[in-house]
């Protein structure tokens, strides 16, 4: 056995060790989520389900609903803005246009969330770029309130999620069989009809996975609602941080972190089943 599987144990051991450490860290979150909070102490008491019961209060429900709402808005607008860019990226005739589009749309992925969030703070602030320009042009007298609003948070989150959405959509568009489009055009369909009735339906699996990936990703966003929301817009991540580091209620923070994890996993499971079904249906047609 070892003869036919060289390096098996040597290569497996570090991976298993890493997996164990990761699982231990997640287990700690689970473990804290079922512990009693002792006010004024970082130590926790015995086993309890109180933290999960506590979620049932309206204030926490609102935070959860707001998290879903913001994530949904972000996913929808991200899709609407990313589709044209992805389409241009795949179908552009010239090589340099394609390269430029890839670079422009992908590099923001690697600048990190703090840099990107800070950039949006400068853009949206009351003395920020947008307000200065609008005032110079005498379109407004008083600065618009863009910071600390849900609108501002969504504007920033959409931009963050677009690189991922563009990658997923571009892959889907690249896989569309051009012969189907040509056939439709030959049979007299206008370019608009070809797009709406051939290209768009064929990229539906990509659209669906894009929406769900961005939705799940946005639900775990932290720094954008933290800094641009500034406490006025609370998502589940901000509530968990607040409970953990200001209230020092580690068990409840753990419960909220666990719920966020379950939501992310749930979205992914939803995506798997939805895209699977969709692909089957497309294959039949």
């Amino acid at each position: 056995m070892t003869q036919r599987r060289p390096f098996f144990v040597t290569f497996l051991a570090p991976a298993v060790l890493t997996a164990v450490i990761l699982a231990a860290a997640l287990f700690e979150v689970l473990q804290y989520s079922v512990r009693t909070f002792i006010p004024g102490s970082l130590d926790v008491g015995g086993l309890t389900l109180d933290n999960f019961v506590r979620i049932n209060r309206p204030i926490y429900w609102w935070v959860l609903l707001d998290t879903f709402y913001i994530s949904l808005l972000t996913a929808i607008f991200s899709l609407l803005l990313s589709y044209p860019v992805a389409y241009a990226l795949v179908r552009a005739k010239r090589d340099w246009v394609r390269s430029a589009l890839v670079s422009l749309s992908i590099t923001p992925l690697f600048t990190g969330e703090i840099v990107r969030t800070f950039s949006w703070m400068l853009t949206l602030g009351s003395d920020g770029f947008v307000n200065s320009i609008l005032r110079k042009l005498s379109i407004i007298d008083m600065p618009l309130q863009l910071m600390y609003t849900r609108f501002g948070v969504v504007v920033a989150l959409v931009q963050f999620s677009m690189p991922v959405m563009i990658i997923l959509l571009a892959t889907a568009i690249a896989h569309v069989d051009r012969d189907c489009e040509k056939a439709a055009a030959n049979l007299g369909a206008s370019p608009t009809a070809v797009f709406w009735r051939i290209t768009l339906p064929l990229t539906l699996p990509g659209i669906l996975s894009g929406i769900i990936v961005v939705f799940a990703w946005t639900m775990s966003a932290f720094s954008t609602p933290q800094l641009i929301g500034g406490g006025k817009v609370l998502m589940i991540s901000n509530l968990a941080y607040l409970q953990g580091f200001s209230v020092l209620n580690l068990p409840f923070a753990a419960t909220l972190s666990l719920i966020a994890l379950v939501c992310a996993l749930g979205s992914l499971a939803l995506m798997k089943s939805a895209t699977g079904r969709l692909e089957k249906r497309l294959a039949i047609n």
């Binding site: 890493t18 804290y32 241009a88 703090i114 840099v115 003395d127």
Partner: protein, 263 residues
């Protein structure tokens, strides 16, 4: 498609995507304290201030230590794991894969919180060990993926030919396979390093005031002061990561590593 309206729309969307970057670059060279538009001139005072700010210096060094250790560990463990997954069927493989890919889905604040609590259980909270472990786990999927893709592209006959000619499994690995996956490993390592260097949310949980990394130091600065020092740091980070990614794309074919297929 070729129409003027379509391309105007695409350009407008790209302006929205790049506007914040342009604004941050503009404010970083603006001499005035308040964030005024349009810029009143060009000065590099904020760069000097940022580079001389003690917290940023320490945080940058911390970040380099963490990134160096975390991405290198992720490279070693991730490459070995990619090799296993590509070559062998074994019991528990599905579970192991599920656990090691999961950091792509797990919210960073959940993961950071978990490592904070785990560190607490071993008296290692806010220490480098936990920070490095958290970063390693977060960036490893990217290395594993990069190495897996390059391994899959190797012609299996090369290894068979070498083995038939009498090369030991060790020799096949080191002299045939390793040189062929080296570009993938290097590309994966670079992506891991950039992601670790700019990671914020998990770092906020696992670092302390002495061990904070650059993004955490920037966050703490933003909350207290409103001057363009952070613009200067951001501008430097934007330029550095863009350059690294450009070079990586030219050298290792980053688009293939990230599986961005446009053809």
């Amino acid at each position: 498609m070729r129409s003027f309206a379509f391309w105007s729309l695409v350009v407008a969307i790209l302006v929205y995507m790049t506007l914040p970057t342009i604004v941050v670059l503009m404010t970083s060279v603006n001499p005035t304290e308040i964030l005024a538009f349009p810029p009143q001139g060009v000065s590099f005072d904020w760069y000097v201030k940022a580079l001389n700010y003690r917290d940023f210096q320490v945080a940058f060094q911390n970040g380099l230590i963490v990134t160096g250790c975390a991405s290198t560990l992720a490279l070693i463990v991730g490459s070995a794991f990619a090799w296993l997954v590509q070559r062998y069927q074994f019991r528990g493989r599905g579970l192991l894969e599920a656990v090691l890919w999961s950091p792509l889905i797990i919210p960073h604040f959940t993961l950071g919180f978990g490592f904070l609590l785990l560190g607490g259980a071993f008296g290692l909270q806010q220490g480098y060990v936990m920070i490095v472990l958290a970063h390693m786990v977060l960036v490893m999927p990217f290395v594993t993926r990069a190495v897996y893709v390059s391994l899959s592209n190797i012609d299996p006959n090369l290894a068979r030919a070498a083995a038939n000619l009498g090369a030991s499994p060790f020799n096949v690995l080191v002299r045939i396979e390793l040189p062929l996956v080296l570009p993938g490993m290097a590309g994966g390592w670079l992506i891991a390093a950039v992601l670790s260097l700019t990671e914020f949310t998990a770092s906020l949980y696992v670092t302390g005031s002495r061990t904070q990394t650059l993004p955490v130091a920037m966050y703490n600065y933003i909350r207290e002061y409103a001057d363009p020092t952070v613009s200067a740091i951001s501008a430097m980070l934007i330029i550095a990561t863009t350059l690294i990614m450009f070079i990586a794309d030219r050298t290792f074919g980053l688009r293939r590593v990230l599986a961005i297929d446009t053809h």
